[in-house]
Symmetry: C2
Subunit: 203 residues, 2 copies
Amino acid sequence: MAQARLIEELIESLRALPGIGPKAAQRMAYQLLSSKKKEAERLGRTLLEAVDKVHRCPSCNNLTDSDLCQYCASPDRDDSLLCVVESVADMMVIEQSLSWSGRYFILMGRLSPLAGVGPSDISFNHLVQRVGDERVKEVVLATSFTPEGEATALAITEILQRYYPQLRISRIAKGVPAGAELEYTDVNTVAQAMLNRQIRENN
Amino acid sequence: MAQARLIEELIESLRALPGIGPKAAQRMAYQLLSSKKKEAERLGRTLLEAVDKVHRCPSCNNLTDSDLCQYCASPDRDDSLLCVVESVADMMVIEQSLSWSGRYFILMGRLSPLAGVGPSDISFNHLVQRVGDERVKEVVLATSFTPEGEATALAITEILQRYYPQLRISRIAKGVPAGAELEYTDVNTVAQAMLNRQIRENN
């Protein structure tokens, strides 16, 4: 026998959250309705307000509740530099690294022939248009180093080179992660780090 | 630089969910606002409706949106048998095991002197009253086999024996779990299973 309808419905709705299975959803529902009613109400209200007001930034695809997202609206960023990422989460990691002062463009996905995701499913046309409109001088490709991410970077390179032969196109560096010990790093990464070695200037 | 206010607020609200840290909350928020707006809206509405309508069953402390929960309201259950559990989740596991046809009583916690949880913080008085009112014949203690759960079971036994000397009080069996291999079972459990061995009847 199941629980009351409303509780079942809440458990079912919680399962829409990424990474939440039936057991976790049940535990969440009981806790929210037992000892966290205030938090549950706040979450409910915030969800409805966010769904209503948050939309894609028309310039870069970031999520925002203003006309333009704060990265596109900021006057302090360099319009000639554009960093292309797969997702909002990827963009946030680059922001947190404090290593980028240009603009962003979010593809909202990556090419994946197996999953039926082609160039028209992610924002290729929008990217080509934006690069032209804003006289971008360098596009940095910061897609993942997975097969799909690499294929996406390659496809963007080909398209942009065709439209804008003068454009500088770069790819973020692949190498041994900060803090990693060589002994425990996979050989592909080590090989790539060796090939991409940086020459130290003489003093 | 952080994200837009509403998105930050949603991430913060999602962290109230049990087991959700800052990274998971961020991932959830982006996904809900990117590709799962419909699910997010449904979750928001269900949360608000459930917070508004779900309450404790006055008879057993279960969560319900009716006057009495369905286990207390059902005419098919044996009033003389009462199973005492710590939480709604524990009650649901027993229900799913199809091993109980009596009523339930949910303590909403367990004794924990270290955390400052005493008999008055969990529903001891309510339990004593219910056992008397409904002429219960047997109380089955189904609290956990943790130190706190065992202490809770012991305290309930002492109180109920004082008030109702005729009442039968039992404890669910401790032993080797179904499907477990002895080799990998902890020795305390094996010792308990040996002490509590059941005599097989001769054919």
